[in-house]
C-alpha cells in the first residue's frame, strides 16, 4: 500500500519539473501552473497507523479535497499548493520527529493536523519554537486554546468543554435531573465528568454517582449494576473506542436502554460505524454532520466526497481537515504573504465562506484565543440505524452561545515582537 501522499500535485513528480508540469495540467484543468512556480507547502501530520488511524485518514481526505479546490481556484499567492502528509502514529514523539523532518527537509510553510490532544500540544509547542503557523485540526483538550494557547496555534475542532456543554441542556430538559456517570479513569474522562457535573449542579440537578472504570475494562457489569441500583434518569458513558463498544453492548444486555437514557459527550461517525448494530444507541453530540437539510453547498461537498472515496460520506474529521486547509489558503491570500505572523493576523476573526463552513451561521476563528466558533450538533442514534444514517441531529447549537469566553478559558496571547 502506497500513500496517496499528496493532493493533486504529486510530491516526487514536483521534484522533477517536467513531470510536474504534465501531471498538474492533467489534474488541474482550469489553471495551468508555470513550470518554474515553486509550490506553497502545507505539512499535514495525522495518524495513519494506530488507534486513531480511521479518524486521521478522514482529516487527510478533507485536507486533500480542500487543496484540490484551492489549486483549481488559483492556489496561494498565485502559486500551487502542495499537501505533504506524514504519519504521527497518534503519538507526540513521532509527530514531533515528523514535524522536524517537514521543517528542515521539506521546508513546509504551514503545519496542520492531529487527532489527539497530546500530539496537538506537542505540535503547538514545536511550531511556536519554529515560528510556524499551526492549525490543530482535531485535538480537543481545553488548554490548547486556553491556558497554553500560543500566538501561532489555531484550532478547528471544538474544546472539551463544548463537548459536554453542547448536549447538556437537551439531556437535562428532555430526560431529567438525576444522572449517573461511568467514567474512564484517566485525565480526559475526569475532565469530561467534572464539566458535566458543574453544569448539572448549576442547573439544579443531582449526580447520583460516578463509577470509575479503568481504561481497557472489558466487563462493565459491576458498574452497570451500580448504575441500575441508583435509578438515574440519564446514564452518561464517557468511554471511547473498544471500551465504549463494551459498555454499550453490556448496557443493552442488561436492558438498561429501556429503563433510562444512555448518553454521553462527543461522538463520531467513524465510531458509530465501527460499533456492532446492538450497541448503536444513545444521545451524543456531533461536531459536524453530513446531513443538514437546507445548508448551501453541502450536498455538492457530500457528492464530491462520495465520488472520490467509494461512496463514503464525509465526517466531522473530514470537515476539520477541509476547513483547516481552506482557512490557511484564505488567510495567506488575504495577507498577501506567507509570513507566519501576517497569516496569523489574517486568520484571527476570519469568517469561513459558506462553501467552506458547510453549516449554518457564522463560523470564525475567535481572535482572542484562536478557537473556531462554529456549531455543535446534539442528537441521538435512531433505532436500527444503518450507515450512513447513523445520527439524528436534534438541535444545531451555535458554539458561541455555550463556549467559555477567552478570559474564562485562560488564554493570553503573546506575540513575537
Amino acid at each position: 500500500m502506497v500513500f496517496k501522499n499528496t493532493a493533486s500535485l504529486n510530491r516526487r513528480g514536483l521534484l522533477k519539473a517536467g513531470a510536474a508540469a504534465s501531471a498538474s495540467s492533467l489534474i488541474l484543468p482550469e489553471v495551468s501552473w508555470a513550470q518554474s512556480e515553486s509550490p506553497v507547502k502545507i505539512g499535514n501530520i495525522d495518524p495513519r497507523t494506530g488507534t486513531y488511524a480511521a479518524l486521521g485518514e478522514n482529516q487527510i481526505r478533507g485536507a486533500t479535497m480542500a487543496v484540490d479546490e484551492i489549486n483549481k481556484k488559483g492556489g496561494i499567492l498565485g502559486r500551487p499548493v502542495q499537501l505533504l502528509v506524514e504519519d504521527s502514529q497518534g503519538l507526540p514523539g513521532p509527530a514531533v520527529s515528523k514535524a522536524q523532518k517537514m521543517v528542515s527537509q521539506d521546508k513546509v510553510d504551514f503545519l496542520m493536523g492531529s487527532v489527539n490532544s497530546a500530539v496537538s500540544a506537542s505540535l503547538a509547542q514545536f511550531s511556536s519554537q519554529h515560528n510556524l503557523l499551526y492549525i490543530d485540526t482535531g485535538g480537543h483538550a481545553d488548554p490548547i486554546t486556553g491556558k497554553n494557547c500560543t500566538w501561532n496555534t489555531f484550532r478547528t475542532c471544538s474544546t472539551t468543554w463544548l463537548e459536554t456543554a453542547a448536549d447538556f441542556d437537551l439531556l437535562y430538559q428532555k430526560f431529567g435531573k438525576k444522572w449517573f456517570f461511568i467514567t474512564p479513569d484517566y485525565a480526559f474522562g475526569h475532565s469530561l465528568h467534572d464539566d458535566y457535573v458543574a453544569q448539572l449542579t448549576k442547573a439544579g440537578g443531582v449526580s447520583l454517582g460516578n463509577a470509575l472504570a479503568p481504561l481497557g475494562t472489558t466487563d462493565f457489569s459491576s458498574y452497570l449494576i451500580q448504575a441500575r441500583a441508583a435509578k438515574p434518569d440519564v446514564l452518561i458513558c464517557l468511554q471511547a473506542g473498544d471500551d465504549l463498544v463494551n459498555v454499550l453492548k453490556q448496557a443493552v444486555q442488561f436492558g438498561m436502554n429501556t429503563q433510562m437514557t444512555i448518553a454521553g459527550a462527543q461522538q463520531e461517525l467513524e465510531v458509530l460505524e465501527a460499533l456492532p448494530p446492538a450497541a448503536r444507541l444513545g444521545w451524543w453530540t456531533f461536531e459536524w454532520y453530513w446531513n443538514q437539510p437546507g445548508v448551501p453547498h453541502l450536498e455538492e461537498f457530500v457528492a464530491a466526497h462520495k465520488a472520490k472515496y467509494n461512496g463514503k460520506v464525509p465526517t466531522a474529521r473530514t470537515w476539520f481537515g477541509y476547513a483547516s486547509a481552506h482557512a490557511i489558503a484564505l488567510a495567506a491570500n488575504q495577507a498577501k504573504s506567507l509570513d507566519a505572523l501576517k497569516v496569523v493576523r489574517a486568520l484571527e476573526g476570519l469568517v469561513l465562506p459558506p462553501e467552506v463552513a458547510l453549516q449554518p451561521g457564522k463560523c470564525y476563528y475567535r481572535a482572542e484565543d484562536h478557537q473556531m466558533i462554529a456549531n455543535m450538533f446534539p442528537g441521538n442514534v435512531p433505532n436500527g440505524a444503518t450507515y450512513p444514517n447513523l445520527f439524528n441531529v436534534a438541535q444545531t447549537v451555535p458554539s458561541g452561545t455555550i463556549a467559555k469566553s477567552p478570559a474564562e478559558a485562560g488564554c493570553k496571547l503573546v506575540y513575537p515582537s
Binding site: F3, N5, D87, L91, P92, Q105, A121, A187
Partner: protein, 325 residues
C-alpha cells in the same frame, strides 16, 4: 562466538579496526555537511545517535551480560521526565537537566536491579517488563506532575552557558552536544569492557554456574551491569526530551523497550558497534518507510525477521564473520 572484546587481535587486525573507528568518527563529525545532500536532516542524525546511546546501554545487559531486559524504555522515559521536570521546576540549565534525567533513571535502575537480578532467562525478561510498565502507569496517572497521557510539555532547549557565553542550541549545535556525549558513552563502555569487570560480565553470560563455583557473586555482577546500563539509557532519554521538547508516557512503554531490543539484535548484540549500526538502520528505515507507506511497521518487522534468520549475530557479526573467513 568470540565477542570482539575477548579476541586478542593481531597487530594488523588491530590497526584495521582503528582505521574503521577513525572513519566512523570522521563521518559522524561531518554529518551536518553530508547528510542534507543525501536527503536527510540533522535532527535525524541526532535521533539516531540518541537511540544508539540507549541501545548501547541496553546492550551491556543484553549482549554482554546475557540478561534479556525488555523494560529499558522505563529508564529512557525516566531520563526524559527527569530532564523535563528539572527544566520546569528546578533551573533552566541544560547540563543540570541532562544530569537530573540521567541520575533519576540510573537510581531507578539501581533500585530495580536487586529485584530483577535474582531471576533468570524469561523471568528476568518478565520482571523487567513489569517494572517498565509500572513506571509507565505512574507517568500516566500522576497527572499533576507528569501531565498524564498528554505528556510533559512547556520546556525547551535552553542555551548552554559556558564561561559567560550563552550558546544557543540549534539543531547542529545540539547534534554536536549529543555526539560528544555519545563519544563519552562509547569510551566509558570501551573502558568497562576491557576491564576485569567487563570480562566478568561476559563470564556471567557464558557460564554462570562455573562462575558461582569460582565464588563470584554473580547476582552482584548482574546488578552492576544493569545499573550502569540504566544510567546510559537514561542519559539518552534526557537528550531525547531536549530534542523533542517534551516527555510522554510512550517514552516509557514496552513498545519502545522492544524497539531497543530490535536495534541491538539488528546491529549485533555481541559487537561494540552493533547497537550503533542497528540504531542507524532502525531510525533511517522508520523515517523513510513511514513517509512512504502506512504499513511501514510490517517492513520493520520483515527486516527484523530476515536479520534474525540470516544474520543471527546481527549485521555487524555477519560482516565480521565474512571478513574473518
Amino acid at each position: 562466538m568470540s565477542a570482539s572484546i575477548e579476541t586478542k587481535p593481531a597487530a594488523a587486525q588491530g590497526s584495521a579496526r582503528m582505521l574503521v573507528a577513525a572513519g566512523i568518527w570522521v563521518l559522524l563529525l561531518l554529518v551536518p555537511l553530508w547528510l542534507p545532500a543525501l536527503g536527510g536532516y540533522t535532527d535525524l542524525a541526532t535521533r539516531a545517535l540518541i537511540y544508539a546511546i540507549a541501545a548501547s546501554g541496553l546492550n551491556l545487559v543484553l549482549g554482554y551480560t546475557g540478561g534479556l531486559s525488555f523494560g529499558h524504555a522505563a529508564y529512557f522515559g525516566l531520563g526524559a521526565y527527569g530532564a523535563g521536570l528539572c527544566l520546569i521546576y528546578i533551573a533552566p540549565s541544560l547540563p543540570l537537566a541532562i544530569l537530573a534525567g540521567t541520575v533519576l533513571g540510573g537510581i531507578a535502575g539501581i533500585l530495580v536491579g536487586p529485584m530483577a537480578m535474582k531471576r533468570k532467562g524469561i523471568y528476568f525478561a518478565m520482571i523487567t517488563i513489569a517494572f517498565g510498565q509500572m513506571f509507565y502507569f505512574i507517568a500516566v496517572r500522576w497527572n499533576a506532575l507528569t501531565g498524564g497521557e498528554d505528556g510533559l510539555t512547556g520546556f525547551s532547549r535552553v542555551p548552554l552557558h559556558l564561561g559567560g557565553h550563552a550558546i544557543h542550541m540549534g539543531p547542529v549545535r545540539f547534534y554536536y552536544l549529543v555526539l560528544a556525549l555519545f563519544a563519552v558513552v562509547m569510551l566509558v563502555l570501551w573502558q568497562i569492557l576491557r576491564s576485569p569487570l567487563g570480562h566478568s560480565f561476559v563470564a556471567v553470560r557464558e557460564n554462570t554456574t562455573r562462575l558461582r563455583f569460582l565464588g563470584v557473586a554473580v547476582d552482584k555482577q548482574i546488578w552492576v551491569a544493569f545499573a550502569i546500563s540504566t544510567f546510559i539509557t537514561a542519559l539518552a532519554g534526557a537528550l531525547n526530551a531536549l530534542l523533542t521538547g517534551f516527555a510522554s508516557p510512550d517514552n516509557l512503554g514496552w513498545q519502545l523497550s522492544g524497539s531497543f531490543v530490535v536495534i541491538c539484535v539488528l546491529g549485533g548484540m555481541r559487537s561494540y558497534w552493533g547497537p550503533f549500526l542497528g540504531a542507524i538502520i532502525f531510525i533511517v528505515a522508520q523515517d523513510y518507510l513511514s513517509s512512504v507507506t502506512q504499513n511501514w511497521m510490517s517492513f520493520i518487522g520483515l527486516i527484523f525477521v530476515l536479520a534474525v534468520l540470516f544474520f543471527p549475530q546481527g549485521l555487524l557479526g555477519f560482516i565480521k564473520g565474512r571478513a574473518r573467513s
